[in-house]
C-alpha cells in the first residue's frame, strides 16, 4: 500500500513539518457548519456518495437483492459466460457471479470503517501525546513509528498472522495498527502548530491536567484535520482489506467476498473465464473510487 498522504518532510533529517501537515493545520481553523452544506452541491461528492450508498445497500440487503443464492452450486452450468440468466456469468462451481458480487460487499464494508476508526482513535491519542509532551517520549515513540513504517503493511499482516492466526478481528487490528503511526504523525504535526497558542498557555496556567488539555482543549481544534485524515485512510483501508482477503486473510469459503473470490478464481483467467475475476475486481475499483471522490470533496470543501 502506498502512502500518498505522507508529508515530504517526514523522513527529512530534522523531521520538519511538511507542507501537507501545514495545510491540514490551516484547514483546522476554518471548518464551519455551512461548509458541510457545500458538500451536497459538489457533483463529485454526490457521485461518490451514490456509489457508496449502493454498496451499503448491497451489504445490508444483499441476500434480498441477489437474483440467485450466492452459495447455490450448479455444477452443470459451471464457467458459463455472462448471459441473460447470469448477467455476470458463473464461477467454477456454477454459482452466480452477480449474486456473489452483491452479497460479497458485506465483509469489506464492515471491516473497512471499523479498522479506520480503530486506527484513527489510537493514532489521535498517540499523536496528541507525542505533540503535547514532546521530548524523550516523542523521540522514542517516533523511532518505533519509523520502524513500523519501514515495513509494508502486507508484511506486518503476515507477521500478525504467523503470531496470532487469521480472523476478521485480526484483519481489523492489523489495519488499525498500521494506520496508527500514520495518523499519529498528522495529529502530532497539528498539535505542534497549536502548542504555543494563547488558549493553551491559559489552560496550563489554570492548572488543568494534561489529559484534559489534550482532549478537551486541543482535540476540538484539530478535529477537521483528523476528519480529512480519516476519509483519506478510509480509501487505503478498502485497499488493505481487499488485498488481505486476496492473500487469503478474508472470510473462509464459501462466504462470498470480492478479494477471496478473485484469489479463488484467477487461475481461470488463462482459460478465458474473465468474468469470474473481472466483476469482483471492478466492484473493488468502484468502491475505492467512490471513497476517493468523497475524500476529495471533503478536502476541497474544508480548504476552499
Amino acid at each position: 500500500m502506498t502512502d500518498i498522504t505522507a508529508e515530504p518532510g517526514s523522513s527529512a533529517p530534522l523531521g520538519a513539518l511538511g507542507p501537507d501537515a501545514q495545510v491540514a493545520v490551516a484547514v483546522a481553523s476554518r471548518a464551519t457548519p455551512t461548509r458541510w452544506r457545500l458538500l451536497l452541491r459538489r457533483p463529485t461528492f454526490l457521485v461518490g456518495a451514490g456509489i457508496l450508498l449502493f454498496w451499503v445497500v448491497c451489504a445490508i440487503f444483499g441476500h434480498l437483492i441477489a437474483p440467485f443464492n450466492p452459495l447455490a452450486q450448479q455444477l452443470l452450468s459451471a464457467n458459463t459466460a455472462p448471459s441473460g440468466a447470469h448477467w455476470f456469468g458463473t464461477d467454477p462451481l456454477g454459482r452466480d457471479v452477480l449474486s456473489r458480487v452483491i452479497v460479497g460487499a458485506r465483509d469489506i464494508l464492515i471491516i473497512t470503517p471499523l479498522a479506520t476508526v480503530l486506527g484513527t482513535v489510537l493514532g489521535t491519542a498517540l499523536g496528541l501525546a507525542m505533540g503535547y509532551f514532546g521530548g524523550t517520549f516523542d523521540l522514542v515513540v517516533g523511532r518505533i513509528v519509523e520502524a513500523v513504517l519501514a515495513l509494508p503493511f502486507v508484511i506486518i499482516a503476515f507477521l500478525f498472522v504467523v503470531a496470532v492466526g487469521s480472523s476478521t478481528v485480526m484483519v481489523i487490528i492489523v489495519i488499525g495498527f498500521v494506520f496508527t503511526p500514520l495518523i499519529a504523525r498528522t495529529v502530532r504535526a497539528a498539535v505542534l502548530a497549536e502548542r504555543h497558542l494563547d488558549y493553551l498557555s491559559s489552560a496550563r496556567l489554570l492548572g488543568e491536567n494534561p489529559a484534559r488539555i489534550m482532549f478537551a482543549e486541543i482535540l476540538p481544534n484539530i478535529m477537521p484535520a483528523i476528519l480529512v485524515e480519516f476519509t483519506v485512510r478510509l480509501g487505503y483501508a478498502v485497499f488493505a482489506v481487499a488485498t488481505l482477503s486476496f492473500l487469503g486473510f478474508g472470510p473462509p469459503p464459501p462466504t462470498p467476498d470480492w478479494g477471496s473470490d478473485i484469489a479463488a478464481d484467477y487461475s481461470g483467467l488463462l482459460a478465458g473465464y474473465w468474468w469470474q475475476t473481472l466483476f469482483p475486481a471492478l466492484a473493488i475499483a468502484s468502491l475505492v473510487t467512490a471513497v476517493n471522490l468523497i475524500t476529495d470533496s471533503v478536502e476541497q470543501v474544508l480548504s476552499s
Binding site: I4, S10, A147, A150, Y236, F246, I262, N292, L293
Partner: protein
C-alpha cells in the same frame, strides 16, 4: 557533515534493530512448537523433541534472539524449516528477481510521475490538474491485484499482446524476460504514480510561488526558461526523498503482484513462508526488506545533500 552522516547511520541501525525485535518476537508468540508443526500430528514425541533441539527452538527466548542476531551479523540467516537447508540462496535468488521487477517499475513511474506532477502544478486548479490529481489518487488506492486483473484481461486474454506470467522460463533471453515483466510492473506503476505526482506537484507549486521565481519572471526570463532553470531544480528535491520512502511500500506491492503473476520474488517467498510457518525464512525475508528500505532512505538523503547546497551547509552546521 561527518556528524550528520554518523547520526543518520546511527538512526538507521536503531530502526533496523527495532525492526529485528518486531520480526523476531512476532515469530515467537505463536503457541505450539515448530518441530510439531513441521513433522505433523502423528510424529513420535521423541522425533519432535529431537528436531526442536536441532532447530534450537527450545532454548530461552533471549538466547535464541542473540544467536539469531549473531548469525545475521556473520551473514548466516539460519536454516529454513521447510527446505531444511540454508535460507540465503532462496533469499538471494528471490531478491534478484524482485529487484528486476522493481527497477522496471521505477524506470517507468519516476519520469511519468514527475511529468504528471509538474503539468498539474503548472495548471493548478484547472481541469488538467483535477484530472491528474484525482486519477493519481484513485490509481494509488486501487489494489495491485485489481488493476493487474484488468490488465491481464485486456492485454493478455483479449488482445493477446503480452505474456500473463512473469517468469519467462529457463534459458529465456533478456528481451523475453523484459516482455514478461511489463504487465506485472504496470500495477506497481499505477500505485506509485499518484504519490510521486502529488509530491512533484506540491514542490513545483511551492517554488512557483517563491521569491526567486518571481525575481526570474520580473527580470524578463521566458516562462519556459524560468520553469526549467529555477523551478524544477528546487521542486524535484522533495520528490527524491519520497521515491526512496516508496521502496518499502513497493515491496508490499510486490507480494501481491508476484503472487498474481506467479513470479519467484521476495514477496512471493515471504508469502509462502508465512503460509508454511517457515519462521527463519519469514524472519530473514522481512529483515532484508527492512535493510533495503533503510538503505534506500539513506541513499536518498545522500543524493539530496549532493543536489542541494543549502542542505550541505545545514548538514555541516549540524
Amino acid at each position: 557533515m561527518a556528524t550528520f552522516l554518523l547520526r543518520r547511520l546511527g538512526l538507521m541501525i536503531l530502526t533496523l534493530w527495532i525492526v529485528s525485535l518486531i520480526v523476531f518476537f512476532a515469530g515467537q508468540i505463536l503457541p505450539g512448537d515448530p518441530g510439531r508443526a513441521i513433522l505433523g500430528p502423528f510424529a513420535a514425541k521423541s522425533a519432535v523433541q529431537a528436531l526442536d533441539t536441532q532447530l534450537g527452538v527450545n532454548r530461552p527466548l533471549l538466547t535464541r534472539y542473540l544467536s539469531w542476531i549473531g548469525g545475521l551479523l556473520h551473514g548466516n540467516m539460519g536454516t529454513s524449516y521447510t527446505y531444511r537447508t540454508a535460507v540465503e540462496p532462496f533469499i538471494r535468488a528471490a531478491l534478484i528477481n524482485s529487484v528486476k521487477l522493481a527497477v522496471l517499475a521505477f524506470v517507468i513511474v519516476v519520469p511519468l510521475g514527475i511529468i504528471g506532477g509538474v503539468i498539474a502544478a503548472l495548471y493548478a486548479g484547472r481541469a488538467v490538474d483535477r484530472i491528474i490529481s484525482v486519477t493519481g489518487l484513485s490509481l494509488a488506492t486501487v489494489p495491485e491485484f485489481v488493476s493487474g486483473i484488468v490488465l491481464i484481461v485486456v492485454f493478455g486474454v483479449t488482445l493477446k499482446v503480452l505474456p500473463v506470467t512473469a517468469a519467462a522460463g529457463a534459458g529465456a533471453g533478456d528481451l523475453s524476460q523484459f516482455r514478461h515483466l511489463i504487465l506485472p510492473a504496470i500495477p506497481l506503476v499505477f500505485v506509485l504514480f499518484g504519490y510521486i505526482a502529488r509530491m512533484a506537484r506540491a514542490g513545483t507549486i511551492e517554488s512557483l510561488n517563491s521569491d526567486y521565481a518571481r525575481t526570474a519572471v520580473l527580470k524578463g526570463l521566458p516562462r519556459a526558461t524560468m520553469i526549467r532553470r529555477h523551478v524544477l531544480r528546487n521542486s524535484l528535491l522533495p520528490t527524491i526523498t519520497v521515491i526512496a520512502t516508496q521502496t518499502g511500500y513497493l515491496i508490499g506491492g510486490l507480494v501481491v503482484v508476484e503472487t498474481l503473476f506467479n513470479y519467484q520474488g521476495i514477496g512471493n517467498l515471504i508469502f509462502k513462508a508465512a503460509g508454511a510457518k517457515d519462521f527463519t525464512m519469514l524472519e530473514a525475508g522481512v529483515l532484508i526488506i527492512g535493510v533495503v528500505y533503510v538503505l534506500a532512505t539513506l541513499a536518498a538523503d545522500l543524493l539530496l545533500i549532493a543536489l542541494n547546497p543549502r542542505l550541505r551547509i545545514g548538514a555541516q552546521n549540524d
